[in-house]
Symmetry: C2
DNA sequence: CTGAAAGCGCTAACAT
DNA sequence: ATGTTAGCGCTTTCAG
C-alpha cells in the first residue's frame, strides 16, 4: 500500500494522532513538531487518503447534481451544463467533488433518499426538471443542504435560484424605448411557454411605464421555431403601420424574424430594430450581430455553489430564493 | 446513527459476516438465512453505507471525468457534455458515480496523481483538451483504466475514442454523388482546423473514387463563421460554371452559405444542394432543413463508458482506439 | 502539547 | 454454512 499516516508518524517519531492534527491544522501542536511532521510528509510524499478521512469524519465532501441527462440534452439545454460548470468551479475550489446523476423525477427521490441514509452527499443541487413534491418533502425533512436550479412549480420551503424573465423582458423593451423606438412589437412563444410569458409581461410593463401604447396586433405568439418566427415577423411587416422594433422571445424566433425582415429588402436596425434573449454563440454569427439580454448562467452556477457550501457550514442560514440579474449586451441590431 | 450491519446481524441472530455475505450475494449462505436476513434488511430499511463498503474493499466505484469547464463551454462545446451524458448513463447502470472535474492540462495531472495515490477513482475519462504527455505517462505508468475522448495529438499508448471525420467527409460527398450531383464544391475552415481538414480529405477521396473531377476553385477555405461562409459561397456562385452542390465543413459556414444562396434568388436544393455536419438543433430550424452527416456523440459516450468499465474488470483487455461511425440524415437540402 | 485507544461500517481471511 | 477477528486509514475523545 501507499504511504499512510502510520509511516509518517513513525518517521517523525510521533503518534498518528499528532500527524492527524498537523494535517488538519490543529493549533494545539507546537511549531517544532508541526514543522517536523510537515517535512516528513513532504519527504515521504504522503497524501492523506481522503476516502478514509471522510469515512472517519462521517463527511463525504461530495455534492450531487441531479438533472435529466437524456440524449440531446446538451444541444437542447446548454444552459444547464453551463450552470453545472459554474457550480463545479467553486466546489472544486473548496475541495468538494461534484457527482453528476442523470435521473428523472422518480429516480431523483430514490437517489436522494439513498444518499441521505448513507450520507454520501453533503448537499444536493437539483435541476427544476426533476423536482417533485415527494423530493421536496425528502429534502426538507432530512434537512439536507440543497438548492433547486429553477423555480419549482409548486409551493414549498425549498431553496431555489432562478432567472428573472420578467425583468429581462423589461430591460429589453426599455432598451428599445431608450434608443428612441416608439413602436415596439413582441414575438413570443405559445401560452404554455412560461419563459416567454414572463418576458411578454415584462415587455408590457415596460411599455406601460413609459406610457407607450401599441396596437394589440403588435403581440404575436406561436411556436418557438425559425419557421414560425419568420411567419409572425412577416405578419408584423404587413401591418399598415408596422413596428419600428421587435423583441423576440428567443433565438429560434429571432433567427426567423431576421430572415423575414431581410427577405423583404428591409434592414436591421435602420428599418426595424431587433433584440432577443440569451447569448448563444449563434447570436454572434448572425448578420447583423444581435443585441441580447443575457443571463450569466455560469455565474448563476457559482452563486448556487456558494449558497450550498454556505448552507453546509451553517444549516440555520436561511434564504429561500435567489435571482440572477440579466445584463444587456448591445450589438448592431438595435444600434440606431 | 442510521441502522448498520450490526443491527441487522443482531436482529437476524447472525454475525455481521453473514449479513455482509448476503449483501454481496455470496453463494455460501443457505437460502434460509439469506431470506431471513433479507427480510430483516427490508424491515429495518437497512442500506449499506457505500462509503464504508468502498473503504473496506479499497474500491471507489467512482470515475473521474476530466475536461475543461471554462465559462461558455456549454455553448461552444455541447458535444463534450453530450458525451458526458452518455458516459453517465452507463456508469450509473453499473453502480458507478461520475465525478466531474474541471481542469486545465496541468491540473489534470495533479488530479490524476492524487486520485491514483488514494485510489479515489477506479478510472479516468479524459477529454483530449486536457491531455498532455505527462498525463499520458501518469496514466500508463499507474496502469489506470482510462479513455481519452478525442485523438491525442502525440504518440502514446493511451486508449482513445474519436470520430472519423475523414469518413464523414466521404459519406457526405458520396451522398451527393449518389443523388446525381456531379459538380460538388467544399467550403472548409482554415488550414489549422483539423476537423475540417479531415473532412476535406474525405471529400477529395470520394470524388476520386467516383472518378469525378472538379475545378480546383471548388475548394474554399476560410474562417468558420457565418460571415466567411457566406463570402465563400458567393464566390462559388460567381464561377462561370458553378457547382450544383456543396459540402460545408460545419454549421457556421453552412448557415452563411444558405444565406448566400438565397440572397441570389437561388433555391436549395433545386439550384444547388447543400450538406453539412453535426446535427445541432439549429440544423432543423433552418429553411430548408439541412441534410447532415451526424455523429451520435451520446452513443460515443456510452461506448467510452463501456470500455472503461470493461477495462476495470479485465485490465489486460487491450484496445487502443475506437472510432464511432457517422450517420447520414437526409433532409430537404439535398433532396432532388 | 502529545499520545493511547476506541471507533467509523464494512469486508475478508481463517476457523469452526 | 456460519462465525471470529483483524483490519481499511484516519479522527477524536480523553488522559497525561
Amino acid at each position: 500500500m501507499r504511504v499512510t499516516i502510520k509511516d509518517v508518524a513513525k518517521a517523525a517519531g510521533t503518534s498518528t494522532a499528532t500527524v492527524s492534527k498537523v494535517i488538519n491544522g490543529s493549533h494545539t501542536i507546537s511549531k517544532a513538531t508541526t514543522d517536523r511532521v510537515n517535512d516528513i510528509i513532504h519527504e515521504l510524499k504522503y497524501h492523506p487518503n481522503s476516502q478514509a478521512q471522510n469515512f472517519a469524519k462521517r463527511a463525504s465532501m461530495n455534492i450531487y447534481f441531479l438533472t435529466r441527462l437524456d440524449k440531446n440534452i446538451a444541444f437542447e439545454n446548454p444552459h444547464m451544463f453551463e450552470i453545472m460548470s459554474g457550480v463545479q468551479k467553486i466546489l472544486d475550489k473548496r475541495g468538494y467533488t461534484l457527482s453528476v446523476k442523470g435521473v428523472n423525477e422518480k429516480e431523483a427521490c430514490a437517489v436522494v433518499e439513498q444518499a441521505v441514509m448513507q450520507n454520501s452527499a453533503d448537499a444536493f443541487i437539483v435541476h427544476a426538471s426533476v423536482i417533485s413534491r415527494p423530493l421536496s418533502r425528502l429534502l426538507i425533512e432530512s434537512e439536507s443542504a440543497h438548492i433547486v436550479i429553477g423555480y419549482p412549480n409548486f409551493e414549498s420551503r425549498l431553496c431555489w435560484i432562478d432567472t428573472n424573465n420578467h425583468l429581462s423582458g423589461e430591460i429589453a423593451t426599455k432598451h428599445l424605448i431608450d434608443s428612441g423606438f416608439k413602436r415596439t412589437a413582441f414575438i413570443g412563444g405559445r401560452a404554455g411557454d412560461m419563459i416567454s410569458w414572463h418576458r411578454i409581461k415584462g415587455y408590457e410593463d415596460a411599455l406601460k411605464e413609459a406610457s407607450i401604447s401599441v396596437p394589440k396586433t403588435f403581440l404575436k405568439q406561436g411556436d418557438s421555431t425559425f419557421h414560425d418566427g419568420r411567419r409572425m415577423m412577416l405578419q408584423l411587416l404587413k401591418l399598415k403601420n408596422r413596428p419600428d422594433s421587435v423583441v423576440c422571445a428567443n433565438n429560434y424566433i429571432a433567427l426567423g424574424a431576421v430572415e423575414a425582415i431581410q427577405s423583404q429588402g428591409l434592414s436591421i436596425p435602420e428599418d426595424i430594430a431587433l433584440i432577443t434573449f440569451d447569448d448563444y454563440p449563434f447570436s454572434k454569427t448572425v448578420e447583423p450581430m444581435l443585441t441580447v439580454v443575457n443571463i450569466d448562467v455560469f455565474d448563476m452556477g457559482i452563486q448556487a455553489g456558494n449558497y450550498v457550501l454556505n448552507k453546509i457550514k451553517k444549516p440555520n442560514f436561511q434564504v429561500q430564493s435567489y435571482t440572477t440579474l440579466p445584463e444587456l449586451i448591445v450589438r448592431e441590431s438595435t444600434r440606431k
